[in-house]
């Protein structure tokens, strides 16, 4: 075969390969869009509640989807895509906001310890007077209270109470045991209640300091 013909053949081959690749790429894009876009509502709401504003939430979503598309080959079809996308977004969030976050998958014994201490410390919450906390509470106040929670507690409260995810899903999203989901959620809700209590006090529904409402020692048993 003459060199000229060889080159011609090679070019033809290349053109064919290229076309195939383009088609495959297009297929890949379609597949990604089909699978990933439906989860945007869930991710956007989480991003919105974590960042507290629309612009940051949008940025986070865009970054998440671009990253996810780049690493689409690493996604195993049939596994939980929502958890996969969530983890990408969580990493983006951490990188962006540089919040100290604990290693995923590690049971944090300090936290378990804190949990029991919180139960002791926040015994004020067992007062019937706290009924007033929920009177005339406004949306912004709940949102502000939420924003005051440390990230790991805010995360579980958003996922469980706003986005309605099950403990199993949350455990999967965060790579933590279900027991940790339970305790974080309990503690997160308590912290939020304490903030709402402060609002109620400021608005005059409740007078006095939280400890004035101590009734029982939770460890009496």
């Amino acid at each position: 075969m003459r060199l000229k013909d060889k080159i011609k053949d090679l070019l033809k081959q290349e053109k064919r390969d290229k076309k195939l690749t383009d088609e495959e790429l297009l297929k890949k894009q379609k597949k990604f869009e089909e699978e990933a876009i439906p989860h945007m509502q869930f991710l956007y709401n989480f991003a919105y509640r974590m960042t507290g504003n629309e612009e940051d939430a949008k940025d986070l979503i865009q970054e998440t989807y671009m990253k996810a598309f780049r690493f689409w080959d690493q996604y195993e079809p049939g596994t939980n895509i929502r958890a996969w996308l969530f983890k990408i977004m969580k990493n983006s969030y951490i990188n962006k906001y540089r919040k100290a976050i604990k290693e995923p998958g590690k049971v944090d014994y300090d936290e378990v310890q804190n949990f029991y201490e919180t139960v002791r410390d926040e015994s004020f919450e067992t007062s019937d007077l706290q009924e007033h906390i929920f009177e005339n509470i406004f949306e912004d106040e709940v949102i502000e209270a939420l924003s005051k929670l440390p990230d790991e507690f805010r995360t579980v409260v958003i996922l469980a109470d706003i986005e309605g995810q099950s403990y199993e899903e949350i455990a999967d999203f965060l790579d933590i045991p279900i027991g940790t989901v339970r305790s974080r959620l309990h503690r997160g809700r308590k912290m939020l209640r304490r903030e709402l209590f402060e609002f109620a006090k400021r608005k005059g529904y409740i007078k006095g300091k939280p400890k004035d409402y101590d009734i029982d020692d939770p460890e009496k048993d």
Binding site: K58, S127, H186, L192, I215
Partner: protein
Amino acid sequence: MDCRQTREFLSALVDNEEIDSQTKQKVEEHIWRCATCRTELELEKKTKETIKAKVKIIPVPNELITSVLNQLKILQNGYAQSLESPRELNPTPKPWLEIAFSLGIAIVTLSLAFLFVSVYGKKMTQRELIRKEVSALVNHFDSIAQGFAKPEVLSTDPAYVKNAILSKASFTPVFLNIPEFEIVGASIKDPHLRSGNPRCVNLIYRKGERLILIHQAPMSSAPMHDEIKKRILKGEWIYDTITDDSFVIWGTNELVCCAISNLPKEELEQVLKQTK
């Protein structure tokens, strides 16, 4: 089970999440006996309800979905390398209308021109003939220059434009190197659009506000008066102007070319001379 142990399961009770039956029984027993934990459970329920009721799910803004899809496309094209460039022709966005609009006008003008030519052709001077034949192209050029029509291919990367054209055109066009001008776009739609006519190639060169559109078509199929064809085949470059635009027709045995520009005729002549 004491209060401390019970508290760890309150959230699960609130959320109706599964707890193993033995533990659940113990927790429930404790709550039944302990008023504090009972209140605590009620308060946690209320907290959850309050959050759920007050903090609503927000719909995703439409523009976010659009921008994500657009970015994916850009990323996709980045992978495909030569598929499409994300960069646009004009840094200042112009109101591009559908190319069909301008093409439609071009076709109407052209068919009128041809009707004219067929009836009065013999009486017209060659100059008028040429001007009639070029007028559709000039219209096409004007709509591109004024931003009413968008060429199919738009890119600031000349190599990309060349590849796109080579893969689509039915013949091999010539890519002139015009000093200081850059290829910014191209189309293969034919403003002549005569039946059975193979597609032509329009290359758009740009230098600031100055544009040159180079139209090329196979000589065999170019709609052209025989006398003009003869002049071109002799190697003549026929320059002229229509309103504010200048143009030139020339050709080879294979190709007929027509350049249209918003440069003055003399400047167009000068610029093109440098390419020879």
